[in-house]
Amino acid sequence: MGKIFRFGDDVNTDEIIPGRYNVTTDPKALAEHCFFEVRPDFSKTVKTGDFIVAGENFGCGSSREHAPIAIKASGVKAVIAKSFARIFYRNCINIGLPIMISDELYDLVQDGEEIEVNLKEGRINILKTGKDIRSQGFPEFILKIIDAGGIVNFLKNHDIGELEDGI
Protein backbone atom coordinates (compact mmCIF):
# COMPACT_ATOMS: atom_id res chain seq x y z
CA MET A 1 0.00 0.00 0.00
CA GLY A 2 1.30 3.43 -0.88
CA LYS A 3 0.36 7.02 -1.53
CA ILE A 4 -0.04 8.55 -4.97
CA PHE A 5 1.92 11.50 -6.29
CA ARG A 6 -0.06 12.57 -9.32
CA PHE A 7 1.51 14.36 -12.32
CA GLY A 8 0.17 15.49 -15.70
CA ASP A 9 1.10 14.73 -19.33
CA ASP A 10 4.57 15.03 -20.90
CA VAL A 11 6.57 15.10 -17.66
CA ASN A 12 10.10 15.43 -19.04
CA THR A 13 13.41 14.22 -17.68
CA ASP A 14 14.43 17.79 -16.81
CA GLU A 15 11.42 18.10 -14.55
CA ILE A 16 12.22 14.75 -12.92
CA ILE A 17 15.80 15.79 -12.28
CA PRO A 18 16.84 19.30 -13.33
CA GLY A 19 19.90 19.30 -15.61
CA ARG A 20 22.15 21.07 -13.16
CA TYR A 21 21.85 18.19 -10.67
CA ASN A 22 22.89 15.64 -13.29
CA VAL A 23 26.52 16.14 -12.41
CA THR A 24 26.40 13.30 -9.90
CA THR A 25 25.53 9.64 -10.40
CA ASP A 26 24.99 9.02 -6.69
CA PRO A 27 21.37 7.78 -6.41
CA LYS A 28 20.83 9.38 -2.98
CA ALA A 29 21.97 12.81 -4.15
CA LEU A 30 19.77 12.50 -7.24
CA ALA A 31 16.78 11.51 -5.09
CA GLU A 32 17.20 14.65 -3.01
CA HIS A 33 16.56 16.78 -6.09
CA CYS A 34 13.89 14.63 -7.68
CA PHE A 35 11.10 16.91 -9.03
CA PHE A 36 12.93 19.73 -7.26
CA GLU A 37 11.55 22.53 -9.43
CA VAL A 38 8.06 21.33 -10.23
CA ARG A 39 7.30 19.82 -6.83
CA PRO A 40 9.83 20.97 -4.26
CA ASP A 41 8.20 19.00 -1.41
CA PHE A 42 8.48 15.66 -3.24
CA SER A 43 11.78 14.42 -1.81
CA LYS A 44 10.72 15.36 1.71
CA THR A 45 7.29 13.75 1.67
CA VAL A 46 7.73 10.64 -0.50
CA LYS A 47 7.95 7.36 1.42
CA THR A 48 9.22 3.96 0.42
CA GLY A 49 6.40 2.13 -1.33
CA ASP A 50 4.66 5.23 -2.73
CA PHE A 51 3.58 5.57 -6.36
CA ILE A 52 3.79 8.07 -9.17
CA VAL A 53 0.70 8.29 -11.36
CA ALA A 54 0.86 10.32 -14.56
CA GLY A 55 -0.74 10.99 -17.93
CA GLU A 56 0.73 10.52 -21.39
CA ASN A 57 4.40 10.39 -22.44
CA PHE A 58 6.00 10.27 -18.98
CA GLY A 59 9.79 10.63 -19.10
CA CYS A 60 10.12 12.37 -22.44
CA GLY A 61 13.24 14.40 -23.24
CA SER A 62 16.80 13.23 -22.79
CA SER A 63 17.91 9.59 -22.74
CA ARG A 64 19.91 10.11 -19.56
CA GLU A 65 19.34 7.51 -16.88
CA HIS A 66 19.60 9.96 -13.99
CA ALA A 67 15.83 10.47 -14.11
CA PRO A 68 14.64 6.90 -13.38
CA ILE A 69 17.55 6.46 -10.94
CA ALA A 70 16.34 9.52 -9.00
CA ILE A 71 12.78 8.18 -8.85
CA LYS A 72 13.86 4.69 -7.80
CA ALA A 73 16.19 6.03 -5.12
CA SER A 74 13.29 8.11 -3.74
CA GLY A 75 11.64 4.83 -2.77
CA VAL A 76 8.88 4.91 -5.39
CA LYS A 77 7.55 1.38 -5.88
CA ALA A 78 6.20 1.91 -9.40
CA VAL A 79 5.32 4.58 -11.92
CA ILE A 80 1.89 4.10 -13.47
CA ALA A 81 1.15 6.26 -16.51
CA LYS A 82 -1.05 6.31 -19.58
CA SER A 83 2.10 6.03 -21.68
CA PHE A 84 5.87 6.39 -21.38
CA ALA A 85 8.53 7.87 -23.62
CA ARG A 86 10.33 4.97 -25.27
CA ILE A 87 13.93 5.32 -24.07
CA PHE A 88 12.71 6.17 -20.55
CA TYR A 89 10.64 2.96 -20.54
CA ARG A 90 13.71 0.87 -21.41
CA ASN A 91 15.89 2.70 -18.93
CA CYS A 92 13.36 2.02 -16.12
CA ILE A 93 13.38 -1.70 -16.76
CA ASN A 94 17.16 -1.75 -17.08
CA ILE A 95 17.67 -0.03 -13.73
CA GLY A 96 14.89 -2.03 -12.04
CA LEU A 97 12.20 0.62 -11.59
CA PRO A 98 8.78 -1.00 -12.21
CA ILE A 99 6.47 0.84 -14.59
CA MET A 100 2.89 0.06 -15.54
CA ILE A 101 0.68 1.33 -18.31
CA SER A 102 -2.91 2.13 -17.41
CA ASP A 103 -5.33 4.32 -19.32
CA GLU A 104 -7.90 4.10 -16.58
CA LEU A 105 -6.18 4.80 -13.28
CA TYR A 106 -5.21 8.42 -13.94
CA ASP A 107 -8.77 9.73 -14.09
CA LEU A 108 -9.96 7.68 -11.13
CA VAL A 109 -7.53 8.89 -8.48
CA GLN A 110 -6.48 12.10 -6.80
CA ASP A 111 -3.14 13.17 -5.48
CA GLY A 112 -2.47 11.64 -2.06
CA GLU A 113 -4.90 8.72 -2.43
CA GLU A 114 -3.76 5.22 -1.59
CA ILE A 115 -3.46 2.23 -3.87
CA GLU A 116 -2.20 -1.32 -3.68
CA VAL A 117 -0.35 -2.88 -6.62
CA ASN A 118 0.50 -6.41 -7.67
CA LEU A 119 3.24 -6.04 -10.27
CA LYS A 120 3.32 -9.59 -11.53
CA GLU A 121 -0.41 -9.83 -12.11
CA GLY A 122 -0.74 -6.23 -13.20
CA ARG A 123 -3.45 -5.47 -10.63
CA ILE A 124 -4.09 -2.09 -9.06
CA ASN A 125 -6.55 -1.64 -6.21
CA ILE A 126 -7.87 1.81 -5.29
CA LEU A 127 -8.37 1.64 -1.54
CA LYS A 128 -11.01 4.37 -1.14
CA THR A 129 -13.44 2.95 -3.68
CA GLY A 130 -12.27 -0.65 -3.62
CA LYS A 131 -12.10 -0.56 -7.39
CA ASP A 132 -9.77 -3.07 -9.07
CA ILE A 133 -7.95 -2.11 -12.25
CA ARG A 134 -6.03 -4.38 -14.56
CA SER A 135 -2.95 -3.25 -16.38
CA GLN A 136 -0.57 -5.30 -18.46
CA GLY A 137 1.48 -7.51 -16.16
CA PHE A 138 5.17 -7.95 -16.83
CA PRO A 139 6.32 -10.92 -18.86
CA GLU A 140 8.60 -13.31 -16.96
CA PHE A 141 11.56 -12.03 -18.98
CA ILE A 142 11.16 -8.44 -17.76
CA LEU A 143 10.26 -9.48 -14.21
CA LYS A 144 13.60 -11.26 -13.93
CA ILE A 145 15.38 -7.97 -14.69
CA ILE A 146 13.22 -5.98 -12.26
CA ASP A 147 13.55 -8.59 -9.50
CA ALA A 148 17.33 -8.51 -9.80
CA GLY A 149 17.20 -4.72 -9.30
CA GLY A 150 18.13 -3.99 -12.90
CA ILE A 151 20.04 -5.60 -15.73
CA VAL A 152 23.49 -4.63 -14.45
CA ASN A 153 22.77 -6.43 -11.17
CA PHE A 154 21.30 -9.36 -13.08
CA LEU A 155 24.54 -9.72 -15.04
CA LYS A 156 26.58 -9.80 -11.84
CA ASN A 157 25.12 -13.22 -10.98
CA HIS A 158 23.67 -14.56 -14.22
CA ASP A 159 24.42 -15.03 -17.87
CA ILE A 160 22.23 -12.86 -20.09
CA GLY A 161 20.86 -16.02 -21.78
CA GLU A 162 19.19 -16.96 -18.49
CA LEU A 163 16.61 -14.24 -19.14
CA GLU A 164 15.08 -16.69 -21.62
CA ASP A 165 15.24 -19.76 -19.40
CA GLY A 166 11.90 -21.34 -18.66
CA ILE A 167 10.06 -19.04 -21.05
Binding site: N57, I87, R90, P139, F141, I151, K156, I160, G161
Partner: protein, 412 residues
Protein backbone atom coordinates in the same frame (compact mmCIF):
# COMPACT_ATOMS: atom_id res chain seq x y z
CA UNK B 1 6.16 -13.54 -42.24
CA UNK B 2 5.40 -9.95 -41.39
CA UNK B 3 6.49 -6.33 -41.48
CA UNK B 4 10.10 -5.35 -42.20
CA UNK B 5 10.72 -5.18 -38.42
CA UNK B 6 9.26 -8.66 -37.85
CA UNK B 7 11.21 -10.04 -40.83
CA UNK B 8 14.49 -8.76 -39.41
CA UNK B 9 13.91 -10.33 -35.98
CA UNK B 10 12.56 -13.54 -37.53
CA UNK B 11 15.65 -13.93 -39.74
CA UNK B 12 17.90 -13.13 -36.82
CA UNK B 13 16.33 -15.77 -34.57
CA UNK B 14 15.50 -18.30 -37.31
CA UNK B 15 11.89 -18.51 -36.20
CA UNK B 16 8.69 -16.53 -36.75
CA UNK B 17 8.62 -13.54 -34.47
CA UNK B 18 5.72 -11.11 -34.21
CA UNK B 19 5.05 -7.68 -32.74
CA UNK B 20 4.69 -7.61 -28.96
CA UNK B 21 7.15 -10.45 -28.33
CA UNK B 22 10.18 -9.79 -26.17
CA UNK B 23 13.31 -11.24 -27.69
CA UNK B 24 16.98 -11.52 -26.81
CA UNK B 25 19.21 -11.08 -29.88
CA UNK B 26 22.85 -10.73 -30.87
CA UNK B 27 23.73 -7.11 -31.47
CA UNK B 28 25.70 -6.77 -34.70
CA UNK B 29 26.98 -3.28 -34.02
CA UNK B 30 27.02 -1.17 -30.85
CA UNK B 31 27.72 2.47 -31.67
CA UNK B 32 28.39 5.48 -29.49
CA UNK B 33 30.00 8.90 -29.95
CA UNK B 34 32.11 11.39 -28.03
CA UNK B 35 29.11 12.52 -25.97
CA UNK B 36 27.72 9.10 -25.01
CA UNK B 37 30.79 6.84 -24.85
CA UNK B 38 32.00 8.04 -21.41
CA UNK B 39 28.75 6.86 -19.77
CA UNK B 40 28.79 3.62 -21.79
CA UNK B 41 32.26 2.83 -20.47
CA UNK B 42 30.97 3.43 -16.96
CA UNK B 43 28.03 1.12 -17.58
CA UNK B 44 30.39 -1.62 -18.82
CA UNK B 45 32.52 -1.23 -15.70
CA UNK B 46 29.39 -1.50 -13.53
CA UNK B 47 28.63 -4.95 -14.95
CA UNK B 48 32.04 -6.07 -13.74
CA UNK B 49 32.62 -7.85 -17.05
CA UNK B 50 35.15 -7.48 -19.85
CA UNK B 51 34.24 -6.43 -23.41
CA UNK B 52 32.46 -9.30 -25.14
CA UNK B 53 33.65 -8.58 -28.68
CA UNK B 54 35.61 -5.42 -29.48
CA UNK B 55 35.06 -5.91 -33.21
CA UNK B 56 31.33 -5.28 -32.89
CA UNK B 57 31.87 -1.89 -31.29
CA UNK B 58 32.12 1.34 -33.26
CA UNK B 59 33.08 4.64 -31.66
CA UNK B 60 32.83 7.90 -33.59
CA UNK B 61 33.96 11.35 -32.53
CA UNK B 62 31.59 13.75 -34.26
CA UNK B 63 29.54 15.83 -31.83
CA UNK B 64 32.13 18.36 -30.72
CA UNK B 65 34.94 17.66 -33.12
CA UNK B 66 37.66 18.80 -32.75
CA UNK B 67 36.96 19.47 -29.05
CA UNK B 68 35.87 23.05 -28.37
CA UNK B 69 36.46 23.25 -24.62
CA UNK B 70 38.71 21.84 -21.94
CA UNK B 71 35.77 19.75 -20.68
CA UNK B 72 35.09 18.07 -24.01
CA UNK B 73 38.80 17.56 -24.67
CA UNK B 74 39.18 15.87 -21.27
CA UNK B 75 36.21 13.53 -21.78
CA UNK B 76 37.47 12.60 -25.24
CA UNK B 77 40.89 11.85 -23.81
CA UNK B 78 39.29 9.34 -21.42
CA UNK B 79 37.54 7.65 -24.31
CA UNK B 80 40.78 7.53 -26.31
CA UNK B 81 42.45 5.76 -23.42
CA UNK B 82 39.66 3.17 -23.38
CA UNK B 83 40.02 2.68 -27.15
CA UNK B 84 43.77 2.17 -26.87
CA UNK B 85 43.56 -0.11 -23.85
CA UNK B 86 40.83 -2.33 -25.30
CA UNK B 87 42.33 -2.31 -28.81
CA UNK B 88 39.14 -1.06 -30.47
CA UNK B 89 39.77 -0.86 -34.22
CA UNK B 90 36.52 0.73 -35.36
CA UNK B 91 37.20 4.26 -34.25
CA UNK B 92 36.62 7.15 -36.64
CA UNK B 93 36.86 10.92 -36.67
CA UNK B 94 35.66 11.56 -40.19
CA UNK B 95 32.10 12.79 -39.94
CA UNK B 96 28.70 12.18 -38.37
CA UNK B 97 28.26 8.73 -36.80
CA UNK B 98 25.15 7.81 -38.82
CA UNK B 99 26.76 8.78 -42.12
CA UNK B 100 30.09 7.09 -41.39
CA UNK B 101 28.42 3.82 -40.31
CA UNK B 102 26.52 3.67 -43.60
CA UNK B 103 29.56 4.57 -45.73
CA UNK B 104 31.84 2.12 -43.98
CA UNK B 105 29.54 -0.86 -44.40
CA UNK B 106 28.52 -1.37 -40.77
CA UNK B 107 24.88 -1.00 -41.80
CA UNK B 108 23.68 -3.89 -43.95
CA UNK B 109 20.22 -5.45 -44.34
CA UNK B 110 19.03 -7.65 -41.49
CA UNK B 111 21.49 -6.34 -38.95
CA UNK B 112 20.41 -5.24 -35.48
CA UNK B 113 22.29 -2.12 -34.39
CA UNK B 114 21.98 -0.07 -31.23
CA UNK B 115 23.44 3.36 -30.75
CA UNK B 116 23.93 5.80 -27.93
CA UNK B 117 22.22 8.39 -30.08
CA UNK B 118 18.54 8.86 -30.78
CA UNK B 119 18.96 9.09 -34.57
CA UNK B 120 20.24 5.52 -34.78
CA UNK B 121 16.78 4.93 -36.29
CA UNK B 122 18.35 6.14 -39.57
CA UNK B 123 19.80 2.72 -40.48
CA UNK B 124 16.44 1.28 -41.51
CA UNK B 125 16.89 2.96 -44.91
CA UNK B 126 19.07 -0.07 -45.70
CA UNK B 127 16.78 -2.68 -44.15
CA UNK B 128 18.68 -2.84 -40.85
CA UNK B 129 17.03 -2.46 -37.44
CA UNK B 130 18.65 0.50 -35.69
CA UNK B 131 17.46 2.13 -32.50
CA UNK B 132 18.73 4.62 -29.95
CA UNK B 133 19.30 3.49 -26.35
CA UNK B 134 20.66 4.71 -23.02
CA UNK B 135 24.09 4.05 -21.58
CA UNK B 136 23.17 0.93 -19.57
CA UNK B 137 21.99 -0.70 -22.78
CA UNK B 138 25.28 0.09 -24.46
CA UNK B 139 27.13 -1.33 -21.45
CA UNK B 140 25.02 -4.52 -21.54
CA UNK B 141 25.86 -5.03 -25.24
CA UNK B 142 29.53 -4.26 -24.60
CA UNK B 143 29.54 -6.94 -21.90
CA UNK B 144 27.40 -9.64 -23.50
CA UNK B 145 27.08 -8.97 -27.25
CA UNK B 146 23.32 -9.23 -26.80
CA UNK B 147 20.32 -7.15 -25.79
CA UNK B 148 16.56 -7.43 -25.40
CA UNK B 149 13.84 -5.84 -27.50
CA UNK B 150 10.11 -5.75 -27.60
CA UNK B 151 9.36 -6.30 -31.28
CA UNK B 152 7.44 -3.16 -32.30
CA UNK B 153 4.14 -2.82 -34.07
CA UNK B 154 4.43 -1.00 -37.40
CA UNK B 155 2.89 2.15 -38.86
CA UNK B 156 3.10 2.01 -42.65
CA UNK B 157 3.49 5.19 -44.70
CA UNK B 158 2.38 4.57 -48.27
CA UNK B 159 3.79 7.41 -50.36
CA UNK B 160 2.93 7.96 -54.01
CA UNK B 161 3.27 10.64 -56.69
CA UNK B 162 6.25 12.69 -57.88
CA UNK B 163 7.85 15.73 -56.30
CA UNK B 164 7.36 19.03 -58.12
CA UNK B 165 10.35 21.27 -58.76
CA UNK B 166 11.69 22.76 -55.54
CA UNK B 167 10.06 20.10 -53.32
CA UNK B 168 12.15 17.40 -51.65
CA UNK B 169 11.97 14.35 -49.36
CA UNK B 170 12.64 16.66 -46.37
CA UNK B 171 9.38 18.46 -47.16
CA UNK B 172 7.63 15.09 -47.22
CA UNK B 173 8.94 13.94 -43.84
CA UNK B 174 8.07 17.31 -42.27
CA UNK B 175 4.55 17.01 -43.70
CA UNK B 176 4.26 13.48 -42.28
CA UNK B 177 5.46 14.54 -38.81
CA UNK B 178 3.09 17.52 -38.85
CA UNK B 179 0.23 15.15 -39.51
CA UNK B 180 1.19 12.31 -37.13
CA UNK B 181 2.45 14.56 -34.30
CA UNK B 182 5.61 14.47 -32.20
CA UNK B 183 4.48 11.47 -30.18
CA UNK B 184 2.01 9.98 -32.66
CA UNK B 185 4.20 6.99 -33.46
CA UNK B 186 5.67 6.32 -30.00
CA UNK B 187 7.19 2.78 -29.74
CA UNK B 188 6.26 2.04 -33.37
CA UNK B 189 8.41 1.02 -36.29
CA UNK B 190 7.75 3.54 -39.07
CA UNK B 191 7.95 1.74 -42.40
CA UNK B 192 7.99 3.83 -45.58
CA UNK B 193 6.95 2.40 -48.94
CA UNK B 194 5.16 3.16 -52.19
CA UNK B 195 6.21 4.39 -55.61
CA UNK B 196 7.79 7.65 -54.38
CA UNK B 197 10.08 5.77 -51.99
CA UNK B 198 11.02 3.20 -54.65
CA UNK B 199 12.17 6.06 -56.90
CA UNK B 200 14.29 7.69 -54.17
CA UNK B 201 18.08 7.58 -53.87
CA UNK B 202 19.58 5.99 -50.79
CA UNK B 203 20.58 9.43 -49.49
CA UNK B 204 17.00 10.69 -49.66
CA UNK B 205 15.74 7.54 -47.95
CA UNK B 206 18.15 8.23 -45.08
CA UNK B 207 16.53 11.67 -44.66
CA UNK B 208 13.16 9.98 -44.04
CA UNK B 209 14.22 7.21 -41.65
CA UNK B 210 16.44 9.70 -39.77
CA UNK B 211 13.37 11.62 -38.63
CA UNK B 212 11.22 8.63 -37.50
CA UNK B 213 12.23 9.45 -33.91
CA UNK B 214 10.73 12.94 -34.28
CA UNK B 215 7.28 11.33 -34.21
CA UNK B 216 8.29 9.03 -31.35
CA UNK B 217 9.18 6.05 -33.54
CA UNK B 218 11.46 3.27 -32.32
CA UNK B 219 12.95 3.04 -35.77
CA UNK B 220 12.39 3.97 -39.43
CA UNK B 221 12.42 1.19 -42.02
CA UNK B 222 12.40 0.77 -45.79
CA UNK B 223 12.37 -2.61 -47.53
CA UNK B 224 15.46 -3.45 -49.55
CA UNK B 225 15.44 -3.22 -53.36
CA UNK B 226 17.73 -2.52 -56.33
CA UNK B 227 18.75 0.87 -54.89
CA UNK B 228 19.92 -0.76 -51.63
CA UNK B 229 21.56 -3.62 -53.48
CA UNK B 230 23.44 -1.34 -55.90
CA UNK B 231 24.74 0.87 -53.09
CA UNK B 232 26.02 -2.05 -51.05
CA UNK B 233 27.40 -4.13 -53.92
CA UNK B 234 29.21 -1.17 -55.49
CA UNK B 235 31.15 -0.91 -52.24
CA UNK B 236 31.69 -4.62 -51.76
CA UNK B 237 29.36 -4.87 -48.74
CA UNK B 238 27.03 -7.85 -48.20
CA UNK B 239 23.42 -7.64 -49.35
CA UNK B 240 20.38 -9.73 -48.49
CA UNK B 241 16.75 -9.09 -49.27
CA UNK B 242 14.55 -7.87 -46.42
CA UNK B 243 11.00 -7.27 -47.59
CA UNK B 244 7.65 -7.44 -45.82
CA UNK B 245 5.68 -10.66 -46.30
CA UNK B 246 1.95 -10.52 -45.72
CA UNK B 247 2.45 -7.73 -43.19
CA UNK B 248 -0.08 -6.77 -40.59
CA UNK B 249 0.27 -3.01 -40.06
CA UNK B 250 -1.23 -1.38 -37.00
CA UNK B 251 -2.02 1.74 -39.04
CA UNK B 252 -1.58 2.79 -42.65
CA UNK B 253 -1.12 6.43 -43.65
CA UNK B 254 -1.37 7.52 -47.26
CA UNK B 255 0.50 10.48 -48.69
CA UNK B 256 0.52 11.87 -52.19
CA UNK B 257 3.43 14.17 -53.02
CA UNK B 258 2.07 15.49 -56.33
CA UNK B 259 0.66 18.61 -54.66
CA UNK B 260 3.22 18.87 -51.85
CA UNK B 261 4.87 22.29 -51.44
CA UNK B 262 8.02 23.29 -49.49
CA UNK B 263 7.41 22.95 -45.73
CA UNK B 264 8.85 24.38 -42.50
CA UNK B 265 8.82 23.25 -38.88
CA UNK B 266 8.87 26.33 -36.66
CA UNK B 267 10.20 26.64 -33.12
CA UNK B 268 9.86 24.92 -30.69
CA UNK B 269 8.26 21.70 -31.97
CA UNK B 270 9.08 19.48 -34.92
CA UNK B 271 5.36 18.97 -35.53
CA UNK B 272 4.70 22.73 -35.91
CA UNK B 273 4.67 22.28 -39.68
CA UNK B 274 3.47 24.88 -42.21
CA UNK B 275 3.99 25.68 -45.89
CA UNK B 276 6.99 27.97 -46.43
CA UNK B 277 4.66 30.69 -47.85
CA UNK B 278 3.24 31.29 -44.40
CA UNK B 279 6.58 32.61 -43.12
CA UNK B 280 8.00 33.97 -46.37
CA UNK B 281 9.83 37.27 -45.84
CA UNK B 282 10.74 36.62 -42.19
CA UNK B 283 14.34 37.70 -41.58
CA UNK B 284 16.91 35.19 -40.39
CA UNK B 285 20.36 35.51 -38.79
CA UNK B 286 21.84 32.13 -39.59
CA UNK B 287 21.45 29.46 -42.26
CA UNK B 288 22.93 26.03 -41.61
CA UNK B 289 23.09 23.25 -44.18
CA UNK B 290 24.34 19.90 -42.88
CA UNK B 291 23.63 17.14 -40.26
CA UNK B 292 22.73 13.46 -40.46
CA UNK B 293 19.41 14.54 -41.98
CA UNK B 294 20.65 16.68 -44.88
CA UNK B 295 24.44 16.91 -45.06
CA UNK B 296 24.94 14.46 -47.92
CA UNK B 297 26.20 15.10 -51.43
CA UNK B 298 22.69 15.37 -52.97
CA UNK B 299 21.89 18.07 -50.41
CA UNK B 300 25.08 19.99 -51.05
CA UNK B 301 24.45 19.73 -54.78
CA UNK B 302 21.12 21.53 -54.41
CA UNK B 303 22.79 24.36 -52.47
CA UNK B 304 25.77 24.55 -54.87
CA UNK B 305 23.48 24.91 -57.89
CA UNK B 306 21.61 27.74 -56.18
CA UNK B 307 24.73 29.55 -54.87
CA UNK B 308 26.71 29.35 -58.12
CA UNK B 309 27.96 32.81 -59.09
CA UNK B 310 25.99 34.49 -56.27
CA UNK B 311 27.15 36.51 -53.26
CA UNK B 312 25.67 36.02 -49.80
CA UNK B 313 25.41 38.87 -47.34
CA UNK B 314 28.14 38.74 -44.69
CA UNK B 315 25.53 40.00 -42.21
CA UNK B 316 24.15 36.48 -42.27
CA UNK B 317 26.00 33.47 -40.84
CA UNK B 318 25.81 30.87 -43.62
CA UNK B 319 27.38 27.61 -42.46
CA UNK B 320 27.86 24.45 -44.47
CA UNK B 321 29.02 21.21 -42.88
CA UNK B 322 29.45 18.12 -45.06
CA UNK B 323 28.24 15.01 -43.22
CA UNK B 324 31.52 13.12 -43.70
CA UNK B 325 34.98 13.28 -45.21
CA UNK B 326 33.67 11.23 -48.13
CA UNK B 327 30.98 13.83 -48.79
CA UNK B 328 33.54 16.61 -48.37
CA UNK B 329 35.85 15.02 -50.98
CA UNK B 330 32.98 14.57 -53.42
CA UNK B 331 31.92 18.18 -52.92
CA UNK B 332 35.50 19.30 -53.46
CA UNK B 333 35.94 17.26 -56.63
CA UNK B 334 32.69 18.56 -58.04
CA UNK B 335 33.66 22.17 -57.30
CA UNK B 336 30.92 22.76 -54.71
CA UNK B 337 33.30 23.81 -51.93
CA UNK B 338 34.71 26.53 -54.19
CA UNK B 339 31.20 27.70 -55.07
CA UNK B 340 30.27 27.88 -51.37
CA UNK B 341 33.39 29.82 -50.44
CA UNK B 342 33.18 32.14 -53.44
CA UNK B 343 29.62 32.92 -52.36
CA UNK B 344 30.85 33.73 -48.87
CA UNK B 345 29.56 30.72 -46.91
CA UNK B 346 31.66 29.21 -44.10
CA UNK B 347 32.50 25.55 -44.72
CA UNK B 348 33.36 23.65 -41.52
CA UNK B 349 34.96 20.25 -40.99
CA UNK B 350 32.69 17.18 -41.23
CA UNK B 351 30.71 16.37 -38.07
CA UNK B 352 27.57 17.51 -36.30
CA UNK B 353 28.51 21.19 -36.62
CA UNK B 354 26.17 23.62 -34.83
CA UNK B 355 23.43 20.94 -34.49
CA UNK B 356 23.98 20.58 -30.75
CA UNK B 357 24.79 24.20 -30.04
CA UNK B 358 28.29 23.85 -28.68
CA UNK B 359 30.49 25.13 -31.50
CA UNK B 360 30.68 26.24 -35.15
CA UNK B 361 27.68 28.58 -35.23
CA UNK B 362 26.05 28.85 -31.82
CA UNK B 363 23.06 31.24 -31.90
CA UNK B 364 22.64 34.35 -29.77
CA UNK B 365 19.52 35.48 -27.86
CA UNK B 366 17.06 36.80 -30.42
CA UNK B 367 18.75 34.97 -33.33
CA UNK B 368 16.58 33.12 -35.81
CA UNK B 369 18.26 30.19 -37.58
CA UNK B 370 16.93 28.35 -40.60
CA UNK B 371 18.53 24.91 -40.77
CA UNK B 372 18.33 21.50 -42.40
CA UNK B 373 18.47 19.82 -38.96
CA UNK B 374 15.93 17.38 -37.56
CA UNK B 375 15.13 19.14 -34.25
CA UNK B 376 14.12 22.67 -33.32
CA UNK B 377 13.86 22.29 -29.53
CA UNK B 378 14.48 25.44 -27.52
CA UNK B 379 18.17 25.95 -26.79
CA UNK B 380 19.36 23.21 -29.13
CA UNK B 381 21.65 25.54 -31.12
CA UNK B 382 22.76 27.73 -28.25
CA UNK B 383 20.69 30.47 -26.62
CA UNK B 384 17.28 29.42 -25.32
CA UNK B 385 16.08 32.81 -26.48
CA UNK B 386 16.84 31.97 -30.09
CA UNK B 387 14.57 30.36 -32.65
CA UNK B 388 15.21 27.35 -34.90
CA UNK B 389 13.28 26.67 -38.08
CA UNK B 390 13.73 23.40 -39.96
CA UNK B 391 13.48 23.07 -43.74
CA UNK B 392 14.90 21.39 -46.83
CA UNK B 393 18.37 22.24 -48.21
CA UNK B 394 16.67 24.10 -51.10
CA UNK B 395 14.65 26.31 -48.74
CA UNK B 396 17.78 26.88 -46.65
CA UNK B 397 19.82 27.87 -49.72
CA UNK B 398 17.05 30.16 -51.02
CA UNK B 399 16.86 31.79 -47.61
CA UNK B 400 20.64 32.30 -47.50
CA UNK B 401 20.45 34.11 -50.84
CA UNK B 402 17.91 36.66 -49.65
CA UNK B 403 18.42 36.76 -45.86
CA UNK B 404 14.67 36.18 -45.50
CA UNK B 405 12.67 32.97 -45.47
CA UNK B 406 12.23 32.25 -49.16
CA UNK B 407 10.31 29.65 -51.13
CA UNK B 408 13.00 27.90 -53.21
CA UNK B 409 10.68 27.80 -56.22
CA UNK B 410 11.07 31.57 -56.50
CA UNK B 411 14.83 31.54 -56.96
CA UNK B 412 15.48 28.25 -58.76
Amino acid sequence: MGTVAEEIFSKKLSRDVSAGEIVLVDIDVTMSHDNTTPLAIKALRNTGRPLFDKNRIVIIFDHVQPPASVESATLQKEVLEFIKKEGIKNFFREGICHQVLVERGFVTPGRVIIGGDSHTCTYGALGAFGTGVGSTDIGVSYATGKNWFRVPETFYFDVNGSFSKGVYPKDLILKIIGKVGARGATYKACEFGGKTIEDMSLGDRLTLTNMAIEMGGKTGLIKTDKVTENYLKSRGYPYQEIVPKDPNYEKVFEFDVDDLTPQLAVSPRVDNVYPVEKYAGTEVDEVFIGTCTNGRIDDLEIAARMFKGKKLSPLLKTIIVPASNEVYFQAMNRGYIKIFMDAGAMVCNPGCGPCIGRHQGVIAPGDRALTTMNRNFIGRMGSDKGEIIIASPATAAATALTGKITDPREVM
